[in-house]
Amino acid sequence: MQKSRIRWHIAVFLAPAVLVYTAVMIYPLFNTLRLALFNEVDDQRLFVGLANFRTLFLDPLWSDAFWNALGNNFWFFLIHMLVQNPIGIALAALLSHPRLRFAAFYRTAIFVPTILSFVIVGFAWKLILSPIWGIAPSLLDAVGLGGLFQPWLGKEEYALTTLALVSVWQFVGIPMMLIYAALLSIPEELLEAGEIDGITGMSAFWKIKLPLILPSIGIISILTFVGNFNAFDLIYSAQGALAGPDFATDILGTFLYRTFFGFQLQLGDPYMGSAIASAMFAIILIGVCIYLFGIQTRMRRYQL
């Protein structure tokens, strides 16, 4: 009966979402990839094939900045993987302890930085680490480490790591919450069975819980990857579009912004900007594919 006529209501239900999504997200995405193959010659848009990418990867004027941003971005990601996710997992493991009191309070408080904007986080840490204000040096003095203080954000060798750690401080709440949720879903009987076999405390965590939450760790890794490779706001807020000192904190997001939007005396270049955006797209796509086909399908999932 239903099949005899066109069911217009399905189209009506789908249309607004599909139209907005296609027009504002998918079409511009492919248009950006297409623009990367063009350039402007004498005010004319001209098809240049892969020339923009050749410039980006090989021409020293561009490639130095590009490889620098890419390398910095990998370092930024590595710090998140090595610091943010282990801390998040450890906090989640503590919070999920069945007889812990005030767990709701800790959870709410530790998540606070995650809801703040990058602008607030960037400036707040800039002030706290500032040698003019002196909060960081006096705190270090209080624990007897005063000699270690450096104007970290102003030094080329420390600035990127410092900003990555600030970003870790901000986002540790997300892995914490996701792992916490995964840990809560482990049935109590399983842990009790372990206890009977003498597996308790730390070894229960390593031998029973950790294998069970591996899929969630996979998800937070890919979320971190995607988030880091289109990061921009924190670096821009703390160090400006030039990602100082001397481009030491330049990542792909700030490089893209400077290139296509222009800064100071340099005019914006939408074509090279598109080429950088396409490179970012490729990196994110490779990451997502490695996760989907290389990690997710091979990971052993336990039926609970």
């Binding site: 997200m25 995405l29 607030i120 204000w133 955006a277």
Partner: protein
């Protein structure tokens, strides 16, 4: 129960670690808030003490209110966030209903197509989005931001809402059909009220990134009349770098609305995350 899980020493160590991290998490916010209420002298002499009779001052807030149009920025942020959330929920729920309720050719393909955007950040397409907004004359309007955030929020909204809509009982909907209700009435009157908790989860997930975004306001709507709170405070602080009172007060004014919203919605947010809505 065994010894290790009940050991009071262990428990104390756990609380110690959690308190330490809570202090690390809250300390910067605390320092900013208390120093925004002090005189310049107070800020530099005793940065860690609470404002007292001698150091208390609202001078920073006075500068901020005189120089920056913070109420306009907050209003812009509210308009953008509320309208985007409304459109994400309305369009997302409609599409989710179509995908979960009806069998039609292309259903799976459509679902996958809409899910693409979950993993791919919309920022990659910024160059073409800007070009399009310039052509459409939408640059420096709040609509440009609303459209972008709606498109950005839809994929996850459709994904989460269709999971929930599959759980709505068929008997209820078929009873409605027998009573002669149209498909639209069934959706708006029967199904929407039942998925309200899932809608709240989607709303809370989208609210924070939209409110906090700096990238699109900077590129699509940097004009004074359309600045959002995030962009407005960024520009203001950039101009007043050396006026510490003003900077600290501007930061506090940017923190407070979010903190208040968070206190109101934190249970919803945390329940949303921990109920496994993100898979």
């Amino acid at each position: 129960m065994n010894q290790a899980r009940r050991n009071p020493l262990n428990m104390a160590a756990m609380h110690g670690a959690l308190i330490l991290y809570t202090v690390i998490a809250l300390f910067p916010v605390f320092v900013i808030l208390i120093n925004s209420l002090k005189t310049r002298k107070g800020i530099f002499r005793e940065p860690l003490s609470l404002p007292d009779a001698e150091t208390f001052s609202m001078i920073g807030y006075q500068t901020v209110l005189r120089q920056g149009d913070f109420f306009l920025y907050i209003q812009n942020s509210l308009i953008v966030t509320v309208v985007s959330l409304f459109l994400i929920l309305l369009f997302g729920a409609m599409a989710a209903f179509a995908l979960s309720e009806y069998r039609f050719r292309g259903n799976t393909v459509m679902g996958l197509y809409l899910a693409l955007g979950i993993m791919i950040p919309i920022r990659i397409g910024t160059v073409a989005i800007l070009e399009m907004m310039v052509q459409a004359g939408l640059v420096n309007t709040l609509w440009s931001l609303i459209l972008v955030y709606t498109a950005q929020g839809l994929p996850l909204a459709v994904f989460i809402l269709s999971e929930f809509m599959r759980q709505v009982s068929d008997d209820l909907k078929n009873a409605g059909r027998i009573d002669g209700l149209s498909e639209y009435t069934i959706f708006f009157r029967l199904v929407l009220p039942l998925v309200r908790p899932a809608m709240a989860t989607v709303a809370v997930f989208n609210m924070i990134p939209i409110w906090n975004d700096l990238w699109f306001p900077l590129i699509l709507a940097p004009a004074e009349e359309t600045k959002t709170l995030t962009l407005g405070s960024q520009v203001f602080i950039g101009q007043f770098v050396t006026d510490w009172n003003a900077v600290l007060s501007a930061l506090s004014m940017a923190i407070l609305p979010v903190l208040i919203l968070y206190v109101i919605f934190s249970r919803q947010l945390i329940r949303g995350i921990t109920s496994g809505a993100v898979k």
